[in-house]
Amino acid sequence: MKNSKSGGINRRGFLRGTLGGAAVSVGLPFLDIFLNTNGNAMAATGAPLPQRFGTWFFGCGMNPARWNPSTEGIDWELSPELLPIAPMRHRMNILSGYSVLLDGEANQVHRTGVFGALCGGAPKTADTVTGPTLDVLISDAIGTRTRFRSLEMAATGNPRHSNSLRDVSSVNPAEPSALGFYTRIFGPGFSDPNAKDFSPDPSVLLRKSALSIVTEDRKRLERQLGYSDRARLDQYFTALRQLEQQLELQLLQPPPLQACSTPQAPVDLPHDTEIDNVMANHGLMAQTLALALACDQTRVFNMQFSDRASSLRMPGSTDTHHTLTHEEPRDTVLGYQPNATAFVLKSMEAWTQFCQTLDAVPEGEGTLLDNCLVMAHSETSEANTHSIVGMPFMTAGTAGGRLRTGLHVSGVGESASRVGLTMQQAMGLNVGQWGADQNQTDRPISDILV
């Protein structure tokens, strides 16, 4: 067995008998260095915690003049419609001013705004979209090894209230009931992740082999170079070795999920579009989701608080939020529609509670929210005119430190696909450019990316 400087093992020996899905036992002698002194648990600086991505949708937007903060940066001033998020503002980012650029396509009301932002391009006809939604792209990359590729929930109790799709003929339906959601995850079929048998990802082994082939060339190259070029070659091999070490970690059984615990089943509440029921169901679903994430049952989720053209209602009223946005007159003193706007504040309240629920689960050095990236958005800015200019976007969580938080960034004149590109890059996707036509971009929002 060759003992090259990189400390790696002969790839021939390593490969023999380990491919074809055969399980690797933890006790391989040459991998002892990754176990701590007791030889059982992983060293604290071991495998990184799983990172999760989610979307949180609320319908019928907001009033731009009252929602958009007037100042940017880290000390941005809380606007009237953002007051509810005050307790969590430092864990969030506000991205205002981003629009779906139409480029001659019709603004399909309550549709172009959301699918333009999620798919990166204005839909050309009423029955198409320009590509899979953002969460599907991300789950293709990070969701293939968990029990559920993604989880969709609708606090309004209607399984058709979902924006997650690969194409219009395959829309991921949403869980309508909190109890049903719980049963699906923690009912029969749930297996404690801490007791699982581990089998390493064969593709990781292949990647390691490719790198060790390169290492063989080192001596030959070094002979050809002068002093300073040798130093640069050293740096190259150091970078290579660091990636190799990352891959080696992935071949080991991950540490137990300390944050995972099985919750109690929730009470079954009525699920309809009355705001109190929606808030209650939303809360229950969020709690179940938080533990589902902590137990690594999925790494991608989509929560619809209210649907496109929000059908939320106040108790006892038959006027939906959507109807009010079109029919309620603007109060001449206040300058906005008071009843319609009450739903905006409720939505912001619910969003805050959602983030607090994720934040209540300790994980690693911080909380579950630290290892999440949640994107909140709507299908319009001003619902009354179906405006898709300056739509509301918010993020929560840092994706394991990849995102800064606490900022307000204004993207006036820019396409919302920049938000989608930023989300994908923050989740580690290897994408440099995203979107269609006028909405195509290769510039993420660097203000919030670390």
């Binding site: 292949l206 082999s209 190259l221 002093y227 130093a231 070659l233 190259y236 290897n430």
Partner: protein, 573 residues
């Protein structure tokens, strides 16, 4: 027209070589190991696998030394995150190459069975694709190494293509793919014992990256393998072929992208309140416009380099129409336009690209423009600004006293510490004040008429067009081009021994009518280009670190209205 220009180019080269008046013999400087730029990486993938492959990922930023990324390429290494990106890109490309849709078109052979190893086909594939990727034939050992592992994987996974993917990925992360390593053999002379000669293969790469910004094509590679490039006539023929090829446009583009600092476009942003017209697409179009102009003038028309500063032809696209105030027929794509006479606009200096790039987010900047012209186009050094500057005296009273940039900058003339540098930059920068922060023409600023007259090293001018004329007549401009082009070609500053060569190149450039392709050919066939001096085995003595670039970058404000000048790329003083 193009054919004619190629004949002209080819003819003039043969003429020069045939004359036998060789360049003053000079030995090249140290060998370079240069990291591929993003563009060069993409070209390499296209050359090996065709244009259907999508290269998705982010490249590490380039490093600018002495005003050129080409020099920085000889200094940079690969960081951990950069390497992760390379590895991810390699896997993605390998997967595409072996995919069901593309494998028949790209791979030189298909296995007998897709679910079992096939050593013969695997070996042949690695050999052929490896040769294109690494720009040299692989040794038997190299091929064997990869073929064995690939075959084993193919067997275990019952998938030939899984094995091939691994082999291809390993090629694309190899250091001699990502870096162009110059290899040389001793070729000492009595008075130069450490003289080296580049191997044929290294020379082939150096030539093709200089002239085409990509790896050597099959003809050049084969000629190098046969050892032909060691013979001057054969070398000259190859250079002539390459300079007459359509790929020359890519090489010229890459050079001017570097000299013009166009990578700054990636970070460019404007204050939307001042310039609502501006967006990133318009910026990309302005950048493309200047590059198309240069290629059109220097390659297609094989024009005199100096005419770049006076020509009023300009490729135009719809989004730029409002900036220049002219109608554009094409809905998308480009068409040739003539600059309007009443804007005193002609030549490179009045392009929107430079106005946009060398301005502040909310207003124009004569100083930034002046610095760019001095450093990039005249190869002069502008010292950094002193740290303790108080600009409050001219930030007030803007509406009444300091209305135009000229008024604001006039204050520098009163201060001794400011005068010397600003006298270099401001007079010529102020000529471009008729173009605002995004290049749009204007007659006044804050309702005060703009005065664009001035003096450039003795020549007076009254507007940007006349400044362009003065530039075209200045010997500094062509000398600077020669120096930049040489440095770009060899990836480092010229050594003392090469100074005579540069002077010779300048003289020849002038004599043959300032044709850039011919100049490139002169550089490519010079002795210094294909020779080198041996590297020192010990660590070099500690050198004072020169600042990366003496550009005065965008100014930023703190909240006390003090300006802090930020020098270089984001390092404050």
């Amino acid at each position: 027209m193009r054919y004619m220009s190629r004949i002209l180019i080819g003819g003039s080269i043969l003429l020069l070589v045939g004359c036998g008046s060789a360049d003053p013999s000079a030995t090249g400087g140290p060998l370079a190991m240069r990291r591929l730029t993003g563009e060069q990486y993409r070209n390499a993938i296209e050359d090996a696998f065709g244009s259907q492959i999508e290269v998705a990922g982010r490249f590490e930023p380039d490093n600018r030394q002495e005003g050129l990324n080409a020099l920085g390429a000889s200094r940079v290494a690969v960081t951990r995150s950069g390497f992760e990106q390379y590895e991810a890109m390699a896997r993605s490309i390998a997967a595409q190459v072996t995919s069901v849709e593309l494998r028949a078109d790209i791979l030189p052979c298909q296995p007998r069975s897709a679910t079992a190893p096939d050593d013969a086909c695997m070996t042949q594939t690695i050999k052929e694709l490896g040769r294109t990727l690494l720009r040299r034939p692989l040794s038997q050992e190299d091929i064997q190494l990869r073929a064995e592992v690939a075959s084993r994987v193919a067997e275990e996974q019952q998938d030939y293509y899984a094995g091939l993917q691994l082999a291809l990925a390993s090629l694309m992360v190899a250091p001699d793919f990502l870096f162009r390593v110059e290899v040389a053999e001793p070729a000492p002379l009595p008075d130069e014992p450490s003289r080296l000669q580049l191997t044929n293969l290294s020379l082939a790469s150096k030539l093709s990256y200089f002239l085409w910004n990509r790896g050597p094509d099959e003809i050049l590679l084969a000629a190098a393998e046969r050892g032909e490039l060691a013979q001057p006539e054969a070398l000259a023929r190859q250079v002539q072929r390459m300079v007459s090829s359509e790929h020359l446009a890519s090489g010229i583009r890459a050079f001017f992208e570097d000299v013009f600092v166009f990578d700054q476009f990636e970070e460019l942003s404007k204050d939307v309140t001042q310039y609502p017209l501006f967006n990133s697409r318009m910026a990309a179009d302005a950048r493309e416009q200047t590059l198309r102009f240069v290629v059109d003038q220097l390659v297609t028309q094989n024009a005199d380099y100096r005419s770049l500063f006076t020509s009023n032809e300009l490729p135009m696209t719809r989004s730029l129409g409002p900036i220049y105030g002219i109608p554009v027929r094409a809905v998308d794509g480009w068409e040739n336009a003539t600059l309007p006479a009443n804007q005193s606009r002609s030549g490179l200096l009045s392009h929107a690209s430079f106005s946009m790039l060398h301005s502040h987010p909310g207003r124009s900047s004569p100083t930034l423009r002046g610095v760019f012209m001095r450093e990039a186009l005249l190869c002069q050094t502008v010292p950094e600004a002193p740290a303790d500057i108080d600009f409050t005296q001219f930030t007030q009273d803007v509406a009444t006293v300091h209305k135009t940039a000229r008024d604001r900058l006039a204050v520098h003339a009163t201060q001794a510490s400011c005068r010397k540098c600003h006298a270099l930059t401001d007079p010529i920068g102020l000529a471009l004040e008729s173009f605002d922060g995004i290049g749009k023409f204007r007659l006044s600023e804050n309702e005060s008429t703009i005065d664009t007259s001035g003096n450039f090293d003795g020549a007076t001018f009254s507007n940007a067009a006349e400044l362009g004329q003065a530039f075209s007549e200045s010997p500094l401009v062509s000398a600077c081009l020669v120096e930049n082009l040489y440095r770009y070609a060899v990836g480092r500053k010229q050594t003392n021994g090469e100074r005579r060569l540069l002077r010779y190149l300048e003289d020849t450039f002038a004599q043959q009518g300032y044709h850039v392709p011919a100049l490139m050919s002169d550089i490519a066939t010079s002795e210094a280009f294909r020779t080198a001096t041996a590297p020192s085995p010990q660590a070099p003595k500690a050198q004072t670190v020169k600042p990366q670039t003496t550009y005065i970058d965008r100014t930023e404000f703190d909240d006390k209205t003090q300006l802090t000048l930020i020098v270089g790329k984001g390092q404050s003083i």
